[in-house]
């Protein structure tokens, strides 16, 4: 199984309460995925000269050491520690440069996300504990994607949790299982992608990254999945501007969407949407198999 949620705020009130909404939705999906949980929230964009990084280290001591090294290596303007092993950093260098620095200098530290507005937190803990530890319910933001994991393809580890970053300010959550991920992983590794897990969803994320780097739009990259990915999937992919949803053509994995004047949301099951204000009167529908649905700031405002 696995649970997915996504929400896009259409009003200032919804933006202010985004974390609360997303946390309620994620909690409803807890029994679809009790192994791990994760959430990406898009908020407080920073200037082009800086970048936001979400990192996690194997231990609290390793995180302290990593922060020390990063201060000396690339400079750290601000940092915010979350739990023992996670931190949000703002660094005075472009995101790609910062990511490469971490890969080179501190390979044991995972950069879960990098960009100007994305903040991505994930851990191998129960969804309820995750929401509390990371203080998600108090966050504001423009949109968020979340995931609760019931592992089938690979080990339950913090790094194997979703969302997976697929490029600057882009991330993916997946419900399903891919059957051709080993071959795809080998092909993407030859192109230079560094994989951190054996997870099939990380391969899907890397596939999208590769397509986007090659100049594809998000919609084109997702349409490519229909050709190149074999297996079951409902994907939700977030960018700095909004999020997109795609189900495989066989559509075994569920997805429901709903929209009001205040928000657009998707979830694996309606009961997650039912927690949102105005859900009773929302337009509710099930996305068609093999069709890309996307929302951006331009599309809904």
């Amino acid at each position: 199984m696995c649970g997915i949620i996504g929400i896009f705020a259409k009003t200032e009130e919804s933006e202010r309460r985004l974390g609360e909404y997303a946390a309620q939705m994620l909690l409803q999906m807890a029994d679809r995925g009790p192994d791990s949980a994760g959430m990406a929230v898009y908020r407080d964009p920073i200037s082009e000269r800086e970048s936001k990084l979400c990192v996690q280290a194997p231990t609290g001591a390793a995180l302290e050491a990593a922060l020390e090294a990063a201060r000396a290596g690339i400079g750290v303007e601000t940092h915010h520690l979350i739990g023992e092993r996670h931190a949000l950093l703002v660094v005075p260098v472009p995101a790609e440069e910062a990511q490469h620095w971490f890969e080179r200098e501190l390979p044991e530290v995972a950069v879960d996300s990098a960009g100007r507005s994305i903040e991505l937190y994930k851990d191998a803990v129960a969804p309820r504990d995750f929401i509390e530890t990371f203080g998600l319910a108090t966050m504001s933001g423009s949109h968020a994607l979340g995931h609760t994991r019931m592992a089938t393809e690979s080990r339950v580890t913090p790094e194997g949790s979703h969302p997976f970053s697929t490029g600057l300010d882009v991330c993916l959550v997946h419900n399903g299982s891919l059957s051709n991920h080993n071959r795809l992983r080998a092909e993407l590794a030859r192109e230079g992608t560094v994989f951190r897990t054996e997870n099939d969803s990380e391969v899907a994320a890397a596939y999208l990254t590769s397509k986007l780097r090659g100049g594809a739009t998000l919609e084109q990259a997702l349409e490519g999945c229909l050709e190149d990915l074999d297996g079951f999937y409902t994907f939700a992919v977030a960018t700095a501007d909004g999020f997109a949803v795609l189900r495989d053509p066989i559509a075994c994995k569920p997805a429901v969407m709903a929209e009001t004047d205040d928000w657009v949301a998707m979830a694996s099951e309606f009961r997650a949407l039912a927690t949102l204000p105005g859900a009773e009167g929302a337009t509710v529908w099930e996305p068609e198999p093999g069709v890309v649905y996307d929302w951006g700031k331009a599309a809904v405002r």
């Binding site: 559509a251 569920p254 099951e269 309606f270 009961r271 997650a272 039912a274 509710v284 099930e286």
Partner: protein, 231 residues
């Protein structure tokens, strides 16, 4: 003490668990029930076996009214996966849309979906009747053995794949037929059967003559090497 069987019982799932609701419905002390605040919860009104009517005010989750016998269940909203799965008798009406596998393996009774039904509607149907006011998704009526599916809108890809003796009537377009499913002539007996079914489902205004009938070509009952390509 006498119990007034005509009075309706109202129960909110904001105050009660689904387990409490279903326990009450399994030993009913009233004929009419109203369920409030369903909130997309799963297995609402599953396993009923009494001549009661249950109205659910909102959207429900998976396997609502599953295994239903004799009861009449009305959903004033949409439903998740497997509505009326393995229904034996009775009636289930959904005002909105149904997710995949609506009426799967149902042996008897009538399932009416006023909106659209997603993929695999009536999969492995074993004798129940399904009427869909809108359209149905891909792989519907897969391996359907007996019973009837009437679709007022369109049907998705691979309709009736490996179908046995179930009858499928579609008023709109069929995206494609599955293996061993063929269009068949709509004879007078089918017009009568369909007209009577539509009437019972509240779609008596539709002309049965506008529907096309689909069923098994009966070429996959026994393996024939010439049919290998069909599998």
């Amino acid at each position: 003490m006498s119990v007034d069987l005509t009075a309706a019982r109202t129960l909110s799932l904001a105050d009660h668990t689904v387990r409490e609701l279903n326990a009450a419905l399994h030993a009913p002390d009233a004929e009419r029930w109203e369920v409030l605040d369903p909130g997309g919860r799963h297995a609402i009104a599953a396993g009923l076996d009494a001549e009661i009517s249950v109205e659910v005010a909102g959207h429900v989750g998976y396997y609502c009214a599953g295994m239903n016998q004799r009861a009449s269940v009305h959903i004033r909203g949409n439903c998740g996966v497997g509505i009326a799965e393995n229904m034996m008798s009775g009636k289930v009406v959904v005002d909105g849309d149904a997710s995949q596998a609506a009426g799967a393996t149902a042996h008897g009774g009538l399932l009416v979906i006023e909106g659209n039904a997603a993929a695999r509607c009536g999969i492995s149907l074993k004798g129940a009747e399904i009427v869909v006011g809108g359209s149905i998704g891909h792989m519907s009526a897969f391996m359907a053995q007996s019973g009837t599916i009437a679709v007022c809108g369109d049907a998705g890809e691979a309709l009736g794949d490996s179908i046995y003796e179930a009858r499928v009537y579609v008023r709109g377009e069929v995206a494609s037929l599955g293996a061993d499913c063929v269009a068949k002539e709509l004879l007078e007996e089918h017009r009568l059967q369909l007209g009577e079914l539509l009437e019972r489902a509240g779609h008596g205004d539709l002309d049965p003559g506008e529907f096309r009938r689909y069923g098994s070509a009966r070429r996959l009952y026994n393996f024939d090497v010439d049919d290998a390509g069909e599998y």
